[in-house]
Each structure stands twice: as C-alpha cells, then as structure tokens.
C-alpha cells in the first residue's frame, strides 16, 4: 500500500488525517514543518505528499518548490491543503509546483479521490 507524507503543523489536524488515512490502509509519515517536510521527502521516499500551506520554518509553497527542484524528489506528487477562505491559493499552489489542491476542513472522500487519481497516474 502506498506511503503518504503528511506535512501539517496543527497537531489535531495531523492526528485526524493520519488516523483516517491509516484506517484506509495507507502508511503515513509525519512532518511538522516545511523544513522537515523537505527532509522526509528525501529520506522516506513517499509515494505522495499532502502539504499544508501555512507552515512554520518553511511555508508549504517554498517547501514544494524545493521538493520539485530536487532531482530525487521531483516525481513525488504533491497535494496542497489550504484554508478555504484564501482564494487565489489554488493558483499559488499550482505555480509552486503542486500537482493538485484541496481545501480545509478536509472532505475525506473528495481528498481520497484526488490521492487515488495521482497515485494511479504515477503507477
């Protein structure tokens, strides 16, 4: 089953999403800020990354840019997660190299569909 790297600083959001993904059989690796996200992407070789955009240390856009600039991690699909009120974030996320985009609070069925589409494309 696929390995997902979840980059999210809010503990409860991280716990909820990680548990729900694990329940569906995914292996979930956690990073709590953008810097750790970039490092984990390189070390743990995930199949997909869920990236919160407002992160400490390194924000989600910059972390994505670094992941997409690195030959070793470039191919990993990234789904950006942002607060719904911030329209314009979709364009910003795609410009930073994200492969797709979803809004918080998470609608799990919708997010799962996006995850599966990207994993299928990669495989």
């Amino acid at each position: 089953m696929a390995k997902i790297l979840l980059v999210e600083d809010n503990e409860m959001n991280r716990d909820m999403l990680a548990r729900r993904l694990e329940r569906r059989g995914y292996t979930v690796v956690i990073a709590v800020d953008g810097g750790e996200g970039v490092a984990r992407a390189r070390e743990d070789d995930p199949d997909l990354i869920l990236m919160d955009m407002s992160l400490p240390v390194l924000d989600g856009w910059e972390a994505t840019r670094q992941i997409k600039a690195d030959e070793a991690t470039r191919a990993i699909p990234v789904i950006a997660l942002t607060a719904h009120a911030m329209s314009g974030d979709k364009e910003k996320a795609l410009a930073a190299g994200c492969d797709d985009y979803d809004t918080k609070p998470i609608e799990l069925p919708r997010l799962l569909e996006k995850i599966e589409t990207l994993l299928a494309r990669k495989a």
Partner: protein, 469 residues
C-alpha cells in the same frame, strides 16, 4: 416766528440729520463686521483664523492704538495672546500667569472693565504688570469672552494719546464681538472633541477587526476538531461493531457543522459591518464553482426528498471575480431552496449573456443606473459580459409583504421558521452584500405555496484594480 429762530431750528435739524447719518453709517459698519465675523465662525474651524478676523475688523471701525485678544485657560492658569496689535504692528507676547494682569479682575467679575482716566494707576491697582516694550494706555477697555458661565478671555482696546477715547457704543460693539469669539471657541473645542472621538472610534474599530480575525481562527480550530473527531469516531464505531454509538456521534457531527456555519455567518457579517470586507479576485472556471456548491447542497436536498436539477450550458467559461464570495452566495441561496422545499424540485440554471435582458429593477441603483463594478454601468449601456445564476424551487414561498425585508440581517420569516428550518437569518443579507460588492445584485420573485425564484446577476469579469489584498 423770527427769521433768526427759524435759522436756529434749521441749523438744529441739519445737525441732528448729520448725527443720524453718522449713526446709521456706524451701524452699517458694525453690521458689516458682524457679517464677516459670523462668516468666519461658520466657515472656519481654525480658532486662530477667527481671532485674526475679529481683531482686524475691530481695528477697521474703532479708533484704538492697540487691539488685543487674550485667552485664559483655567486648567493651567495661563493667559495666552493670540492677537496683539499695537501702534501699527503685530506683537508676539509670551503667555503669562493670570495674576500678572487686570485679567484677574475680569475673570472674577465677568464684567467689562472700562477706564477713562488715571489709567496707568488704575491698572497697577488691579495688579497689572506692564509688558516690557509696550506703551502706556490713557484709555482702556477690556470685555470678557465667555464660554458657558466661565470667562475664558478678553478683548482689549487701548488709546495712548487721550482719556475718554472710547464710547459706550464702542463697548457694546466689543461685547457683541466677544460673544462671537466665545462661540468660535466653543465650536473649536467641540470640533476638536469630535475629532478626538472619531480617532478613538477608528482605533477601536481597528481593534475590533483584529479581534474578529483572531476569533475567527480561535473559534474554527476547536470546531473543526469536534467535527473531525466525531467523523473519525463514526468510522471507527462502524468498523468495530459499536454501531449503537452512531446516532449520537452523528448528532455531535451535525451540531458541530451547524455551529461552524453560524460562526462563519456571524464573522462574515461582523466583517461587513466593520468595513473590513475586501474583494479577492481570481480567474476560475464558473462550472467548477457551481459543481462545488451543488455537491454541498445535494445532501440537504436529498434529506428533504427533493429533486435537484442543474442546467449548466457548455462553455460557461472562466470568470474573474471573488471565488469565496460567489461560492458563499450561491451556496446560501441553493441550500435555502433545498431547505424550504419538501418533496419538490430545486432547479439551478446558469448562463452567460451580453446583457441582463430584461434587466430587473433591483439590478439598478437608486439613480436608475445598472449596478456593475465595471464600465458597463456608464451611460446605462448594459452591453457587456454578465453571468446569471437562477435558483427556483417549489417550496413554501415568501409572502409579498416579507420580500423587501428578506435581504435584511436577522430577517427570517418568523421565529418559528428559525426553529423549524435552522440557520441564522444572515445568509441572504450577506449574499446581497457580497453580490453588490462584486458589481451585481440578487433579487427574488415568489408566490406563497408555489415557490420562489432567486436570481443573481454579476459582471463576469471585474476590472483588475477591483482585487484588494
């Protein structure tokens, strides 16, 4: 009657005519002064300007070698000299304590001080200390400037050449002008107070906006946790044979979502009222937004056994406007339609047109011009690029008398409606505000018992400068 007597009477008449003429000229001059002082007071909020006009006007009509206007501040005990003119020049005199001048007397009595003879000695008796470099008066008049019941200054006249230089009419003119200066001072004080109050209100308003922005985050974070964890527990209860918990978990989840919606509405309205709502325009596919709103409304429609029909013509294309505000507006109307209809039909029709045809009355502002954020409004030329979203239902409808208040905040039909259908009664008020911000509007046609049709008209592309960050 002798010729001599006649001549005397004629002479007398001539003299009294001359006096009358002199008097009416003086009267006219005084009226002119009051006219220009009155104008200065009503058109100027700057106290110094008013004082300059008053001082200059006094010099025009009264034969004095020195004219002064001084102001006394009871709080500091200091007397300032905003206007001192002596022997043809303006003097700049530093403020001094009340005790060093005749002002003590004027402040205490509140009466004019008039000295015709022995002026230097009388002033010294009253405790006046001569300002170095100024001449010694032989005639002296000081009338108090009063604001409320308090003496806050004086207008002074001095003549250095002769005694008995000032007449009673000079004094009464001066008293009139002193009253005018009192009014000007009061105006300036009120204006200053109002300005300070406005500044304080602006600071408070900013604090309120910041507070709301923080509260928005603080309220949503725990609510999202309640909603999210109740969903996880539902999933786990289902998988692990605790299905008897499901109804309660579902209630927690529904209540949490409802509370989140109410909090969002209240915060949107608070932001609108604080004037901190701004447009955040992006380019996006209109069909994407509609599909998202429909996906949210579908469970509500199904819960009330309604058929939800969506008529999206191909090629709606992309638009440039505020995604969040348009999505919120459409969702509000669509979820209302699904909520207030049972076992009926809710239909959403979208289209893109070069003009609203026919343009409904509610799409015009009070001047009859078409509402539009772009140049489309000019010269009532409605040719342009418009999108229309029309939501019709076969629900309970809205009585004609209640339709005008529909878009006012807190105006759900009645309290029992709120209990039966839920919601805050803020959705349509927020929707109208958002639609108008985006250069369009929303209107309604409805017949009780048959259903309602809400229509949104918006410019498809807002001018680039409309986006504010």
């Amino acid at each position: 009657m002798s010729n001599r007597k006649l001549l005397e009477e004629l002479e007398e008449l001539r003299r009294s005519n001359a006096e009358l003429l002199q008097e009416s000229r003086q009267r006219a001059a005084q009226l002119a002064i009051f006219a220009s002082v009155g104008h200065a007071i009503t058109s100027q909020f700057d106290l110094q300007e008013v004082i300059n006009v008053v001082g200059d006007q006094i010099r025009e009509v009264i034969d004095a070698q020195a004219v002064g206007i001084r102001l006394y501040d009871p709080a500091t005990g200091q007397v300032r000299f905003p206007y001192v003119w002596e022997m043809g020049r303006k003097l700049d005199i530093p403020a001094r304590p009340l005790g060093q001048s005749f002002m003590v007397h004027v402040v205490r009595t509140g009466e004019p001080l008039i000295i015709h003879e022995d002026t230097e000695a009388r002033l010294a008796e009253l405790g006046s200390v001569t300002v170095p470099g100024t001449a010694t008066a032989r005639s002296f008049v000081a009338v108090p400037v009063v604001s409320g019941e308090v003496v806050i200054g004086a207008i002074t006249l001095e003549n250095f050449d002769r005694e008995w230089a000032f007449s009673d009419s000079d004094v009464s003119l001066l008293m009139g002008l002193a009253a005018a200066v009192g009014v000007a001072l009061e105006n300036a004080r009120l204006f200053d107070e109002a300005r300070q109050a406005r500044q304080a209100a602006e600071v408070a308003n900013l604090a309120k906006s910041t507070f709301l922005a923080n509260m928005s985050h603080e309220l949503r974070t725990p609510l999202n946790a309640i909603i999210g964890y109740s969903e996880i527990l539902q999933e786990e209860a289902q998988d692990e044979q605790y299905s008897h918990f499901l109804p309660d978990l579902s209630k927690i989840n529904t209540a949490g979502k409802r509370l989140l919606a109410i909090v969002s509405d209240l915060l949107d309205l608070a932001k609108i009222e604080a004037g901190t709502t701004t447009l955040n325009c992006t380019t996006f596919e209109l069909a994407d937004l509609i599909e998202e709103a429909v996906a949210e409304a579908r469970p509500i429609a199904e819960g009330r056994l309604n058929t939800l029909l969506v008529d999206l013509p191909p090629g709606l294309g992309s638009v440039y406007t505020d995604y969040y505000k348009l999505k919120q507006s459409l969702s509000n109307v669509l979820s209302n339609a699904c909520k207030f209809t049972e076992r009926g039909t809710v239909r959403l029709l979208a289209s893109r047109q070069s003009k609203p045809d026919p343009a409904p009355d509610w799409l015009r502002d009070p001047f009859g011009k078409l509402r539009a954020g772009s140049s489309q409004a000019q010269d009532d030329n409605i040719e342009g690029d418009w999108i229309m979203l029309r939501i019709s239902d076969t629900g309970i409808g809205i009585p004609p008398g209640q339709q005008p208040s529909l878009f006012q905040p807190f105006a759900q039909l009645d309290a029992s409606t709120t209990r039966r259908y839920g919601g805050t009664g803020l959705g349509l008020a927020i929707t109208r505000y958002f639609c108008r911000m985006m250069g369009g509007d929303i209107g309604v046609e409805s017949e009780p018992g048959k259903g309602s049709t809400f229509t949104i008209w918006l410019p498809a592309v807002l001018p680039p400068e409309t986006s504010e960050h």
